[in-house]
Symmetry: C2
Subunit: 134 residues, 2 copies
DNA sequence: GTAGACATTCACGTTGACGTGAGAGTCCAC
DNA sequence: GTGGACTCTCACGTCAACGTGAATGTCTAC
């Protein structure tokens, strides 16, 4: 099938599909005209790419792990044992990002809480404003 | 003080300090030579900016909320009540981002688990590894 | 009066997964 | 044979907080 049909069947833009090829996640055949010719299995491959993107992997990592994965129809299964190492590193990256955001939210919560207690109580020392005179 | 001293005293690069001015978070005076002249209070202002950046706020939002905050020496306190609304919206944004990353990690965990059960068991059980749709 | 530290304003580079035209060629039904 | 849908390859734009020169001007200690 050509790129338009694959785009319709997967819900992914043609631009994104060309980008996936550029990142070597897809390798469609070419007609003499230069048109891309996709195989039936590419529909599922695109879905798997989306799953891995949703899992927070970069296209670079996906290109690395995708050839070594099988798709039993229900779940994506890493076929090579060393893949688990790569995936675990990305899991750690995700955890770090999550922790950073949790810490950021804690800071924000403290500021919001300070504002609430401020409106409940009269101000203690409302001078010392280093804020720009907007 | 000039920009170099402020940079040393805050640990923030001169480039960043100029960027903060561009984003209207700082408004130093100017000497006749064009050199920026910072006030003592700007040291604390810069620290507050860093706190708000660490809280996940954009420079645009910080420019919005900074003039309406007081600094009691220990904590940053929103002085205007409507600020809490803005900050709560950013808190929601953070929560959404956190949830997205948690969902991503769940997907990754399912894939990793599928790999482990694949190497542990000779026969796969696809229904067992079915991830919740979403 | 001069070396050299310090400052200034541009302005492009970084990161990633695409969006969005521009200009041109290809395919197919009528 | 033609018109319109389809596809192609560039190639810049997006978002954000800066990094990193380049070319140039200012301040200050000696």
């Amino acid at each position: 099938m050509r790129i338009g049909e694959l785009a319709r069947r997967t819900g992914i833009s043609e631009r994104a599909l060309r980008y996936y090829e550029e990142q070597q996640l897809l390798r469609p055949e070419r007609r003499r005209s230069g048109y891309r010719e996709y195989a039936e299995g590419d529909v599922r491959t695109v879905r798997n790419i989306r799953t891995l993107l949703a899992a927070g992997l970069s296209t670079y990592t996906i290109a690395e792990v995708l050839p070594c994965m099988t798709d039993d129809g229900d779940a994506l299964v890493p076929a090579c044992p060393e893949l688990t190492t790569v995936l675990s590193q990305d899991r750690d990256r995700l955890t770090t990002a999550i922790d950073d955001l949790l810490a950021a939210r804690d800071i924000l919560d403290a500021i919001i809480a300070a504002g609430r207690s401020e409106t409940a109580q009269p101000a203690s020392d409302p001078a010392l404003t280093a804020a720009p005179a907007g």
